[in-house]
Symmetry: C2
Subunit: 189 residues, 2 copies
């Protein structure tokens, strides 16, 4: 018997990403978001949902670009801070000591110290409710070589990304390998 | 120095969910998706991106409803299968032995054996590219009592959801607690 808990934003696991932008004056800013996910394979797109109250919302509306940076678990302190404090009140790059680097492909900075950055051009914005979803076409992905696997893509065991757990209001790490995907071609065989 | 790996759908970690629907004849079906994420807090909404080639795409277009079911790691075999085989070729509930139960709030079934189900009414569909994103308003969440924490919300340590890692093409489990969220009110203090 299942228990009803009402409408709620439960979708374990949530990712933890830092969205970096330039404001209209060219000043870099970053904020942490968990309402994010891949939403198309061709072209590759990521959706990030932000409230209009954030500085980043207005920066994306102006610049039409952003980067999505994936912190490893070593950066949990910076990630938590960047989700709590507004860029209109603090220079979050300066406070955390992280470094904004201008992307070569979009009008946005990426975060030098974080292992992976998705360089995104705004493709669509979708007004949903409290949040507006920004759909960015991923023009390029930048990766630290140390997190790449033998196939040239990020290896989750090396990347060690954070997970956000809504119900626990806490960050978790990625655990052990369960099994390869797309292996069971016929069930039970 | 970062390495460019081109545009790619990298956003570790991805969730693993089973989207369940009724087709136009009322037959239940489910499919696994990883291109999914929460996209609004008020109203609570989840976005799930599907290709037009899937049976589920047409079922949602018809019924305007779906459930998003979260498998624990014990259901990795069923989840992998339901992402590989089309509902137009097999009765995936019958083959896996999972049970469709009619939702009391939307015109879609949920998967009885999976610990959490989000009951969603289609709010918007967003044509992006190869994938169309279905934004569902989460009218209710059904949970097995065993996965609830003391605050009445799912506890990720009890739920044990799967993670999909694009680069590894593999499923992972959730690992250890890193730290509470929203605790660092002022950086470094």
């Amino acid at each position: 018997m299942k228990k009803s808990i009402g409408g709620n934003t439960i979708l374990h696991p949530h990712p933890v990403v830092l969205v970096a932008t330039y404001d209209k004056d060219g000043k870099p800013n970053m904020m942490t978001a968990a309402w994010a996910g891949i939403c198309c394979s061709k072209p590759p797109c990521v959706g990030v949902s932000l409230r209009e109250a954030t500085k980043t919302y207005h920066s994306i509306m102006h610049s039409k670009a952003f980067t999505v940076n994936i912190p490893s678990r070593d950066f949990v302190k910076q990630a938590d801070y960047a989700g709590l404090v507004s860029g209109s009140k603090a220079d979050k790059f300066k406070v955390t000591g992280l470094t904004p680097v201008k992307s070569e492909v979009v009008n946005a900075p990426y975060v030098k110290e974080l292992p992976v950055a998705l360089e995104c051009m705004l493709k669509q914005s979708v007004q949903i409710g409290l949040h507006t979803q920004f759909i960015g076409e991923i023009l390029n992905v930048l990766c630290d070589e140390e997190v790449l696997g033998p196939n040239g893509l990020p290896d989750i065991e090396k990347l060690k990304p954070l997970i956000y757990a809504t119900g626990n209001m806490a960050y978790y790490s990625v655990g052990g390998f369960v099994q390869k995907a797309f292996t069971i071609k016929e069930y039970g065989k």
